[in-house]
C-alpha cells in the first residue's frame, strides 16, 4: 500500500475509533483536509513549488502513523538537546506523545500547554475556533495532511500585556521504538496585544531509525506583540522534516522566524508571513550548513497587504560534498501596500565539488512607492583570504572554518537569547569540525 493510501485508510480508522474528541466543526475541518489531501496527493517535482526537492526517497518507507506507547527517556540522556543554561517553559513530546515528566507547562496567567488538552476542553474552544487552521495554506497538501491528523503539539495562548519571563522550548524526541515513524505535530501560538514571547523549537531523533516529521505551526501576533521563533534543525542522517510555519501579524507587531539547518537528510521549510495592519516588522533568517548528501529547501513568502510595513529576509548557505540547497523567497507587495520596505538577501558558498544550490528570489510588486531590494550570491571560498590567513599561521582547516563562521555570523548575530547564540555557535563549530579559541 502506498503511503498515501495508508494515510487515508488510517484516517478512517481514526474516525471510527473516535480517537480524538471531535466537535462537529473540527470533524468537518479534518474531513475537508483529508479530502483535499486525497485529491492533491504528495507534491512531486512537477509542482512548481517542489521543482528541486523530491520527496520520493522519504515517502518510500512503511511509516507507522499513530504513536503506540510512551517510551521513557531519562532527562540526563537528553539534557544536551535543551538550552538548559537558562530557565524555560518546556513542552516535550516523545514519539509524538506528551511527556509530562520532561515538560514544564503553565496555566498561570497564560496557557503554555498541549494541543491534545486544548482540543478536548470547552474553555479553549473559542480560541481554537478563532485561530486554528485559519492561516494554514489549504492549497498545501502536506499542511492539509497535518490538519487531518491533528492530535498533539504545543498550544500557546498568551493574553494581553504579558512579557514572558522566560522562553518556551518545544522539543520533539523520537526514540526509535518504531522502525519508521511519521510524526505530525501541530502547534498553535496566539500572542496578545503588547505581549512578548520567545520560542525555541527542536526535533531530535535518538536512534538511527527513519523518521519523517510533518510539522505545522500557526503564529498569531496581535497589535504590538513581539514574537521570536527559533528552529534548531540538527537532526541525524535518517531524519527528514517538512516544517510549515504560518504567521499572521497585526499592526505594529514584530515577528521573527529563524531556522538553523545543520542536520537531517531532507529538510523543507515553508515560512509564510501575512500582514493585517500597518507598521509591521517581519524578519526571516536562516542558515544552512550541509554536507554529505543533505538537502535543505527554504521556501518563504512575505505578503505585504498594508502600507508602512517592513520585512527583512536573510538566508545564508554553506554547501559541502554533494549537499544541495534550494532557496525560494517570494515577496508580494499589494497595490495598497505603499511605503513598504522589503529587503531580501541570500548568500551561498559552495565548497563541495558536487554541491549545488538553486536560488530564486521572486518579487511581485504592485505598489509604486516602495523600497524593495534583493541580492543573491553564489560563490566559493575566497582563495586570497585563505592564503592571507594561512600566511599568518592559521592552518587551512581553521582558516576555512573562520571564513565560514564569518560568513554565517550575520545570521547568528540576530539571535536575541545569548545562551541560544552560544549554542548555535557551537553547533556551527561542530559542523565545521573545528574548535576555535573564541566565540564570534
Amino acid at each position: 500500500m502506498s503511503l498515501k493510501d495508508n494515510l487515508i485508510s488510517s484516517f478512517m480508522v481514526m474516525e471510527n475509533r473516535g480517537k480524538v474528541d471531535l466537535d462537529s466543526g473540527f470533524h468537518q475541518m479534518r474531513s475537508e483536509a483529508i479530502n483535499a489531501f486525497e485529491k492533491q496527493g504528495f507534491p512531486t517535482k512537477k509542482d512548481e513549488e517542489w521543482k528541486y526537492t523530491s520527496l520520493n526517497s522519504v515517502l518510500k518507507h512503511d511509516y507507522s502513523i499513530f504513536p503506540k506507547s510512551e517510551a521513557a527517556v531519562e532527562f540526563k540522556e537528553v539534557k544536551k538537546y535543551f538550552v538548559h543554561e537558562i530557565e524555560t517553559y518546556k513542552i516535550v513530546f516523545i514519539d509524538g506523545v506528551y511527556s509530562s515528566f520532561l515538560s514544564e507547562t503553565t496555566h498561570d496567567g497564560y496557557d503554555i500547554c498541549l494541543m491534545s488538552a486544548a482540543l478536548k476542553k470547552p474553555k479553549y474552544k473559542m480560541v481554537l475556533d478563532n485561530y486554528f487552521n485559519t492561516i494554514a495554506d489549504k492549497e498545501n497538501s502536506i499542511t492539509n495532511l497535518n490538519t487531518a491528523f491533528t492530535m498533539e503539539g504545543a498550544y500557546i495562548n498568551i493574553g494581553k500585556n504579558k512579557v514572558l519571563p522566560k522562553p518556551i522550548q518545544i522539543v520533539n524526541f523520537y526514540t526509535g521504538s518504531e522502525k519508521d515513524i511519521l510524526l505530525q505535530p501541530r502547534n498553535l501560538v496566539v500572542v496578545g496585544e503588547n505581549s512578548h514571547v520567545q520560542i525555541i523549537e527542536r526535533h531530535q531523533s535518538l536512534s538511527d531509525n527513519v523518521v519523517l516529521t510533518n510539522a505545522v505551526t500557526e503564529i498569531f501576533a496581535n497589535k504590538r506583540a513581539i514574537v521570536d521563533h527559533y528552529k534548531i534543525q540538527n537532526d541525524n542522517d535518517n531524519a527528514s522534516m517538512i516544517d510549515s510555519t504560518y504567521v499572521q501579524q497585526k499592526a505594529n507587531s514584530i515577528v521573527s522566524v529563524n531556522t538553523y539547518s545543520f542536520g537531517g537528510k531532507l529538510t523543507r521549510n515553508n515560512v509564510e508571513f501575512f500582514h493585517e495592519g500597518e507598521h509591521i516588522e517581519s524578519h526571516i533568517n536562516g542558515i544552512s550548513i550541509l554536507d554529505k548528501k543533505q538537502h535543505v529547501d527554504n521556501h518563504t513568502l512575505i505578503h505585504h497587504k498594508f502600507p508602512n510595513c517592513e520585512s527583512f529576509e536573510l538566508y545564508k548557505g554553506i554547501f559541502d560534498a554533494s549537499s544541495t540547497g534550494v532557496f525560494n523567497g517570494k515577496v508580494i507587495v499589494d497595490q495598497e501596500a505603499q511605503k513598504t520596505n522589503a529587503f531580501q538577501q541570500n548568500n551561498n558558498i559552495l565548497i563541495g565539488d558536487k554541491a549545488t544550490i538553486n536560488a530564486k528570489p521572486q518579487l511581485e510588486i504592485f505598489a509604486d512607492d516602495v523600497k524593495c531590494s534583493h541580492g543573491c550570491t553564489i560563490g566559493q571560498l575566497d582563495e586570497s583570504a585563505m592564503f592571507y590567513m594561512q600566511s599568518r599561521g592559521i592552518p587551512e582547516k581553521e582558516a576555512k572554518a573562520l571564513l565560514l563562521y564569518a560568513f554565517g555570523n550575520e545570521v547568528v548575530e540576530k539571535i536575541k537569547i545569548p545562551e541560544l547564540k552560544t549554542r548555535i555557535t557551537k553547533l556551527i563549530a561542530n559542523k565545521l569540525g573545528v574548535k576555535l579559541g573564541f566565540e564570534i
Binding site: F387, Y388, S391, G393, I394, P395, Y405
Partner: protein, 245 residues
C-alpha cells in the same frame, strides 16, 4: 637564515621569477627594488608559500631546510611573515580574534600552551601602543573599510604580535603618510635583533632612511640584476632603472 637558489616560478605557462639567488643572514636587512611587474610581490608570495604560483626550479631554504613542500601556515610557524602589498579584507572576523587565533595556532604548532587571555590582552595593548593604533580598529572586521594606510599599519601590528624570524614587507610604505611611515618604521626597527632578518620591498628611498638596509637588490624581469649597499638605493632614486636593465 634564508637562502634562495636559482628560483624559477610562475603561473601556468608564464614564468615570472627566472632564476633568483639571494642569501639573507640573521640580523640583516635587505631591500629589494625594481620596476613594476618585475616580480617582487611574486617572490614574497613564493617565499610565503602561496600556491597560486608554481615553483618550476630551484629552492627556498629556511634555516638549512627546504620549505617548498610546506604550507603557508607551516612556514608561518617557522617564523616567516609577509606584510601584504594589498592586505585582504575579511568581513566578520575582528582583528583581535584573528590575531589571537594566529598566535595560538603558532604556539600549538610549536608545542606550546595557548597564551593566557590576560597575557594576550597585555601583548595587544603593548603592540597597538607601539604602532599608535586606535584600539577601535582592533574590534572592527579585519581590514574591512580600513584606509590604505590603516591596513598597512595593521599589517605591522600583526607582525609585531607574531615576532617573526623573517619579515618580508611588500611595499608597506605605499599609502602611508609621513608620520605613519615613521611610526611603522619604528615598529619594524623594534623587531630587529641579531636573530631575525627583514626583507623590505619598496619603490622609494625614503623608507630606507628609516629602515636602513645592509644590502639593496634590483629585481628586473624575474632576476636580480644588481646588488649593492644602501647607496645603491640613492643611485636608483637619482637615475631610475634604465641604466641597469
Amino acid at each position: 637564515m634564508l637562502k634562495i637558489e636559482n628560483l624559477h616560478a610562475g603561473v601556468e605557462d608564464k614564468g615570472i621569477l627566472k632564476g633568483i639567488n639571494l642569501e639573507v643572514k640573521a640580523g640583516e636587512v635587505h631591500a629589494i627594488m625594481g620596476p613594476n611587474g618585475s616580480g617582487k610581490s611574486t617572490l614574497s608570495s613564493v617565499i610565503s608559500g602561496n600556491e597560486a604560483f608554481e615553483v618550476t626550479d630551484g629552492d627556498v631554504i629556511l634555516e638549512d631546510e627546504s620549505v617548498l613542500e610546506l604550507s603557508p601556515d607551516e612556514r608561518a610557524h617557522k617564523g616567516v611573515f609577509m606584510s601584504f602589498q594589498y592586505p585582504i579584507e575579511i568581513p566578520g572576523v575582528s582583528t583581535t580574534n584573528f590575531i589571537k587565533t594566529a598566535i595560538n595556532e603558532k604556539r600549538k604548532a610549536n608545542g606550546e600552551e595557548e597564551l593566557p587571555a590576560k597575557d594576550m590582552l597585555k601583548l595587544i595593548r603593548e603592540k597597538s601602543a607601539l604602532l599608535e593604533m586606535d584600539r577601535k580598529f582592533l574590534s572592527r572586521s579585519l581590514n574591512e573599510g580600513f584606509s590604505g594606510g590603516e591596513k598597512k599599519r595593521n599589517e605591522i601590528f600583526q607582525m609585531a604580535m607574531l615576532e617573526p624570524k623573517l619579515a618580508i614587507l611588500d611595499e608597506t610604505d605605499s599609502g602611508l603618510d609621513i608620520d605613519a611611515l615613521k611610526i611603522v618604521a619604528n615598529g619594524v626597527n623594534k623587531l630587529r635583533t641579531k636573530e631575525n632578518a627583514v626583507i623590505v620591498i619598496t619603490h622609494y628611498q625614503r623608507l630606507l632612511d628609516y629602515i636602513v638596509p645592509d644590502f639593496v637588490h634590483v629585481l628586473h624581469d624575474g632576476k636580480i640584476v644588481k646588488s649593492g649597499g644602501k647607496e645603491l638605493a640613492l643611485e636608483l632614486e637619482a637615475k631610475g632603472y634604465d641604466w641597469i636593465k
